[in-house]
């Protein structure tokens, strides 16, 4: 079995987000980077499936040269090889999908056909919710999204998707595209031998083509409201209506 996992390099925010002066990006000078949490689970699942069933796994990322760090991280966990679609530009959902598709087709031309392609359900930063589905349609393959449980058997993938009150089950034939969510598994911690091996594993850099963006970023902005100051809803039991109002706005109360 051949598995491809698509991952994105994203900064570790977690504190106050600061924008660059041109408002086009987050100021990342002092931030660390990671693989989007959903995709980390995709990497882990790919490694587990290959460990259990044999085959080869690859990881792909579209991003800057520094994304090699994330690709090596994935290989440290056991992924066999990596493809970097290197660009310093931001791709929208549509052009990301096209670039990934082109890369998959290039692999196919060299004889590598993926039985299973994992994406994150959505990226941590852009939150476009669409790249995996677009790639699936372009390849003419079924796509299950938001997967938190997967079992691959007899050329089919049985996928579980969390919904209120339980899990919906999908059963699709391979080859397929699956977008996964954090909670699918607990990603392992990389061993040092794994990290050392990852340094030597093959990493191929390709240049993606970026079409005209369909969703064209004008600028980023921070949500209104001073995040560092809590809004006092009230004192004692008298605050209950205000609390319920917050719950309602959060969609927890009809």
């Amino acid at each position: 079995m051949n598995i491809l996992v698509c991952v994105k390099r994203v900064p570790m925010t977690g504190g106050t987000i600061v924008l660059t002066p041109d408002e086009q990006a987050i100021e990342t000078r002092h931030l660390g980077f990671t693989i989007s949490p959903h995709e980390e689970c995709g990497v882990e699942e790919a490694v587990r499936l290959i460990e259990a069933q044999g085959g080869e796994s690859a990881v792909l990322s579209l991003g800057p040269a520094d994304a090699e760090e994330q690709l090596r991280d994935a290989m440290a966990l056991g992924i066999d090889r990596a493809v970097l679609l290197q660009t310093d530009e931001e791709f929208d959902g549509q052009s990301t999908a096209s670039a990934i598709l082109a890369s998959i087709e290039a692999d196919r031309a060299s004889g590598v056909e993926y039985d299973l392609i994992f994406f994150g359900n959505e990226s941590a930063d852009a939150g476009n919710y669409q790249v995996g589905i677009r790639v699936a349609h372009a390849l003419g393959r079924p796509c299950v999204t938001g997967v938190k449980g997967i079992a691959v058997e007899n050329g089919r993938a049985r996928c579980e998707q969390e919904v209120p009150g339980g899990r919906d089950v999908y059963d699709v034939p391979l080859p397929a595209v699956v977008t996964v969510k954090e909670g699918l598994n607990l990603p392992r911690y990389p061993s040092v031998p794994g990290r050392l091996r990852a340094k030597r594993k093959p990493l191929e850099t390709r240049t993606p083509e970026r079409g005209a963006p369909g969703v064209e970023k004008i600028r980023l902005k921070l949500p209104e409201g001073d995040a560092s100051q809590a809004e006092i809803l009230g004192h004692g039991p008298a605050a209950a209506p205000a609390v319920v109002d917050v719950l309602r706005r959060a969609g927890l109360v009809a």
């Binding site: 925010t13 987000i17 959902g93 549509q94 999908a97 959505e122 930063d125 939150g127 919710y129 669409q130 589905i133 677009r134 349609h137 372009a138 393959r141 079924p142 796509c143 299950v144 999204t145 998707q161 969390e162 209120p164 339980g166 899990r167 919906d168 089950v169 999908y170 059963d171 699709v172 034939p173 963006p213 369909g214 969703v215 064209e216 970023k217 004008i218 600028r219 980023l220 902005k221 921070l222 949500p223 100051q229 809590a230 006092i232 009230g234 004192h235 004692g236 039991p237 605050a239 205000a242 609390v243 319920v244 917050v246 719950l247 309602r248 959060a250 969609g251 927890l252 109360v253 009809a254």
Partner: protein, 322 residues
Amino acid sequence: MTLVYVEHQDGAPEDVSLQALALARDLAGGEAVQALVAGPSAADAAAALGEHGVTTVHVPDHEVFASHAPAALGRALTQLAARLGSGAVLAAGTERGNEVMAHAAAIADLPLAANCTEVTAGDPLTVTRIRWGGSLLEEARVHGGTKLLTVAPHTVEASASGGSPAAVEPFTPELSDADTAVRVVGRVGTRSEGGVTLADAKFVVSCGRGVGSPDGFAPAEELAALLGGAVGCSRAVTIAGWRPHTDQVGQTGTKIAPEVYLACGISGATQHMAGCKGAKRIIAVNTDPEAPIISHAAYAVIGDLHEVIPAITAELRKAGAG
């Protein structure tokens, strides 16, 4: 003409879909708004949707829609939009709304702007959309013939316009085998017995050592049950042996990411905050207005958890929840 994909529960439209409708009506600027509603009892939504300004409810007719079938929905939506000549297609920015719209976008090869909070009509369309799970907003232009958008939940108020019930028009989409291959074939219970897990809960209420005893968690349990949420606790509580370690919210416990985190009598130690930084909104309930958690919370109630939690439960019951 603007088309909206409406999610519903047994014919009752979801609130988030009504919010998307409100935005769609704004965008349509007086033009007709129509809806695609799928599944059994879809037609039952006509009356409610009429009140929210929908003139026609289109119901796709195919056995696959007996359960959720996202690719088929995307196909049906694309075909309907093409037939109706829709300038824009919207849905709620829920998991399923985003999923169905992404299928439609992929099929039609059109741009899709997910989780918009504001839209300004025009060509290109200008939107404000959510990134980073709400920590950041993006202003963007949406190109393409038909504009595809999802509306971030709870950022737009639903508003009834008091229209008459919508007309119901069944239609038969042309679906390939590939379109129908992806569908829900069964349902299994959640792994945890009797409720959601702490890590997955959309609502978490935690208590610190101030609850006084293991029994002190009863009001929190009641509140969590009412909202389909889970109960967490601080490290001090698990050290005291009042709750299992799996209930501990924190860096060395469970990391949570609920829509609302109600932290009661929790001081906000660094190790605790590392476990709940994924929460969208934190409401801190604390007698001490200087407690560190207040500086991390979006909202605060200054008061004793023993009084505040039951008051919230009572208020919710009054509001008809549970």
